[in-house]
């Protein structure tokens, strides 16, 4: 089971009236992999991710997530994934502990499990002293790390991260990526969209979306070789230049 495929996508398409947001994309993601999902604004990343996480119904194509079909087994998928949205998604007027308890509660975890794991997570984040403070009093970087811990608190098989490091300082970004590595090492598959090309280098494999299609998919090293580029930044620019769609 080394190469178990936890996400399997074939010709997945999403049309909004006459606009094709996602155009026949195909790829697969292995267990424990950190899969980078890159693309300019408006390339269709978020739409693709929403289809995989059960928020949006595909127009056509096939997709299996954690072994379940996105059309029919929506509910089973939800049980097996975690999600961290672009917008900061913790409740500012709840304390750190209350936020954890709430999100764990909606995944139906037992109070015993929640109690024990909360202390563990707070300890890892060095937030034990701030556990009973309102989230709005924390600096953005801490909130972001907390949001990630909350997204994987219920121990999902896959976690979807939609631009998780937007607006975060470089030091916190590094710490954040450290957390992503740890999660991947524990067997959680990480599906992450990002704008930052240096972050793309941290991924095991990277796909680059242009105008709703996947134009490149490989390890960062291989991509740089193929496109004769010295950095992912250059790879991305070479591909993105072909885009006809205006970003938003």
């Amino acid at each position: 089971m080394v190469n178990e495929k936890v996400i399997l996508v074939e010709n997945l398409t999403k049309k909004f009236e006459d606009f094709t947001a996602v155009d026949h994309i195909s790829f697969d993601v292995h267990k424990g992999e950190i899969f980078g999902f890159l693309g300019a604004n408006g390339a269709g990343k978020t739409t693709a991710m929403r289809m995989l996480s059960g928020l949006s119904m595909p127009t056509s194509g096939k997709a299996m997530v954690a072994g379940f079909d996105v059309y029919r087994e929506n509910e089973k998928i939800k049980r097996n994934i975690g999600y961290m949205s672009q917008k900061f998604s913790l409740y500012e007027d709840l304390t750190v502990r209350e936020n954890i308890r709430f999100y764990a509660g909606i995944y139906g975890k037992s109070s015993h499990f929640i109690k024990e794991k909360t202390e563990l997570v707070l300890d890892e984040l060095h937030l034990t002293a701030e556990g009973d403070k309102l989230v709005k009093s924390l600096p953005l970087g801490w909130k972001q790390k907390l949001a990630f811990s909350v997204a994987i608190f219920h121990e999902p098989r896959i976690v979807f991260l939609d631009e998780p490091t937007g607006g975060v300082d470089p030091v916190t970004r590094r710490e954040f990526w450290h957390m992503i590595y740890e999660a991947a090492a524990s067997g959680i598959t990480v599906f992450v969209t990002t704008h930052y090309m240096d972050e793309a280098e941290y991924c095991d494999r990277v796909s680059i979306m242009v105008d709703g299609r996947i134009d490149a998919l490989d390890t960062p090293q291989q991509l740089k070789k193929t496109f004769a580029a010295i950095s992912m930044d250059e790879v991305f620019l070479k591909l993105a230049r072909k885009a006809t769609r205006a970003g938003d």
Binding site: F16, T47, R50, S53, G54, L55, S56, M57, E75, K78, R79, I81, Y83, M84, S85, Q86, K87, F88, S89, L90, Y91, D93, L94, E98, R101, F102, Y103, G105, I106, Y107, G108, L134, F160
Partner: protein, 368 residues
């Protein structure tokens, strides 16, 4: 069930930590009852009047005394020329002028007939109406006293009884109205806003990705507001009974039951608004303009529905508060039972099913 409680608990945290919300939810009913009870009243009390007594005889003196003796009027000033009438009305303090022509007593004695002219400031027609009615009543009363002294061949005397509200208190009218308004504001506006807020902040998205049933999420949002509405219903009833002396003449159980039914209709409307509104401002706007305004204008609370033109009367049928207002008046003030309000109850139940069905249909499990 554990999931459900996690949601409800979270919702209570939101409410209790936001002082403004808390204030709107719990203090508003008290403030409204007090404002309506003591400040905004249609009742006439110590209204200032002017008198132009052109005969200054025994009869006019006794009539003026009688006007003054009533608690409705206070003679502010006496005038002596026709010109003065205009100028005192323009100052605005005096709303009614009583004009007694010359030879009042003589006319009364010799011709059995005398005239009194009442001039009212009708820039506020309701006040003008009330004042002239009260003044005429006192004058008729005076006439009756004299006719008792001199036997007339025939007289028709009218005897009036004001049923259900013998003292003609305004509170009997507005308590049901305030109940409708408060429940609507608390349930519809607050529910719509909290759901839309979660859409705005992105937390709704995270919840929709979770295995939680969307219907459960929404019902859990409504539960705290339902409980708070129950508290508000009790507060309003206690205030009206003990502070405003408006009795609950009918069955308390029926009254509370009907109020809870109306609460559910309001909650369903709030959910419906939240499925349509994209931002908190839109939700607020729809709740205020689309609901509160028709509730105030078209429920019969401010203006009687029977006097409205047909198009407005037709529109008033779809305003839930109209039916609730009518139920509260019947049960609380007139003291009649379910047999008299079953039609209204049925209409509210129908509205509940309709709005709830529509809200559930519109609620998107998937965002697109």
């Amino acid at each position: 069930m554990k999931q459900f409680f996690a949601f409800v608990r979270k919702e209570f945290y939101h409410i209790f930590r936001d002082r403004r919300t808390m204030f709107i939810l719990l203090a508003m009913p008290v403030v409204q009852i007090i404002i309506f009870g003591f400040a905004l009243t249609n009742e006439v009390k110590n209204s200032k009047i002017a008198i132009w007594d052109q005969s200054k005889d025994v009869a006019t003196a006794s009539l003026i005394t009688q006007l003054e003796a009533s608690r409705y009027f206070e003679v502010e000033q006496s005038i002596n020329t026709a010109k003065e009438i205009e100028s005192i009305f323009q100052k605005g303090e005096v709303k009614l002028a009583v004009i007694l022509p010359p030879h009042f007593d003589e006319d009364l004695r010799h011709f059995n007939k005398a005239q009194v002219q009442l001039i009212a400031d009708a820039s506020d027609p309701n006040v003008a109406n009330t004042l002239t009615n009260y003044a005429s009543a006192i004058i008729i009363d005076y006439q009756n006293r004299i006719t008792d002294e001199r036997k007339l061949p025939y007289t028709i005397t009218t005897e009036m009884r004001m049923l259900y509200n013998p003292e003609l208190k305004g509170a009997y009218n507005f308590v049901p109205g305030v109940m409708a308004m408060v429940l609507l504001l608390v349930c519809t506006m607050m529910t719509a806003i909290t759901i839309v807020r979660e859409k705005e902040t992105g937390t709704m998205e995270v919840m929709l990705v979770s295995p939680a049933n969307p219907l459960k999420i929404v019902i859990a949002k409504a539960v705290p507001y339902f409980l708070l509405s129950a508290v508000n219903i009790i507060t309003i009833l206690l205030l009206s009974v003990f502070v405003l002396d408006v009795p609950v003449n009918g069955s308390l159980v029926l009254l509370v039951g009907e109020s809870l039914l109306f609460t559910l209709v309001s909650l369903a409307l709030g959910l419906l608004i939240s499925t349509k509104a994209g931002s908190q401002q839109t939700a607020l706007f729809i709740s205020l303009v689309g609901l509160l305004l028709p509730t105030v204008m078209l429920s019969g609370f401010m203006f009687p529905i029977e006097n409205m033109p047909l198009p407005l009367r037709t529109v008033s049928n779809i305003v839930p508060a109209r039916w609730y207002y009518s139920i509260v008046k019947s049960v609380m003030i007139k003291g009649i039972g379910l047999h008299a309000v079953w039609k209204e109850t049925l209409i509210l139940s129908g509205m509940l099913i309709f709005f709830l069905g529509l809200a559930i249909k519109n609620f998107k499990t998937r965002l697109a």
